[in-house]
Symmetry: C2
Subunit: 159 residues, 2 copies
């Protein structure tokens, strides 16, 4: 809901052409932190009409490479994108519903942690994912991953 010219400047600053799909995708990601590709396609189509899924995938790749958006992928989740970049923040993920929230990094730049023994690796980033349960799920006493429909695998016995 903020000025598109702002986004235009971002794109030009990254030496990227300003196109409708790019601006729309960038806006969608900025307005919906940790949004997944499917939802981006939905949001973008609402705003600018027809956009091919191919275009969205292409745009996301370009924006990610340019560093305008960040791609995150907690285990068990599809790829998600956010426009909050450059501050090396972390995430907390709900084991029950998959909700993601930002967690500020005390250090603010990468790598914000030093490995005791780095096994010789040259480390450029320490990614931290906090796992737990969000307030909603805690209150409702949800337990397992809500994403899975709790269908019982035929080879598995119900507990």
């Amino acid at each position: 809901m903020i000025g598109g010219s702002e986004l235009e400047r971002l794109l030009r600053g990254a030496a990227l052409r300003v196109t409708r799909p790019r601006v729309a995708v960038l806006a969608a990601v900025r307005d919906h932190p940790h949004i997944d590709t499917e939802s981006i396609i939905g949001v973008v189509r609402e705003r600018v009409g027809a956009v091919s899924h191919q275009a969205v995938y292409d745009v996301l790749r370009v924006l990610t490479t340019a560093g305008l958006v960040r791609r995150i992928q907690p285990a068990g989740s599809v790829a998600r994108y956010e426009a909050r970049v450059g501050d090396n923040h972390h995430h907390v993920v709900c084991r029950s519903c998959g909700a993601i929230a930002d967690v500020d990094c005390a250090v603010g730049f990468a790598p914000c942690l030093t490995a005791a023994d780095d096994a010789g690796y040259t480390i450029d980033e320490a990614e931290v994912v906090y796992w737990g349960q969000c307030t909603d799920c805690a209150r409702q006493g949800r337990t397992g991953p809500a994403a899975e429909q709790r269908t019982v695998h035929s080879h598995e016995q119900p507990t």
Copy 2:
């Protein structure tokens, strides 16, 4: 290469029946840290002959649920398993070749980090993934993800 009876005890201790596939999968994971499912199937078949991929997937799920193995899934990687459990250690991943090495946790139990602002979540684990480049890749000057064959997407311009 260690006693199978050791593994049997592990399984029984988790109230799991001792079956050939289970013992074989557990041994494979223990002997090949951070092994992926495909490789597990290979290793298991070498040792005990025919085992269905379905059985391996089932076994891995059971072992993971029982806490005998840990499943890790760094972004851009397929699921990998390890038998080193209970010590809350972390991992360092090579951006070029995907190699994974263990990183001891200074604390040794979860959660080993406290979030500045946990957004109300009840946090039970802080997972840390160090990203960087392994010694081999650094020496050979590899740059991009080696997993991807560097084929140029038709919609993408080479830099």
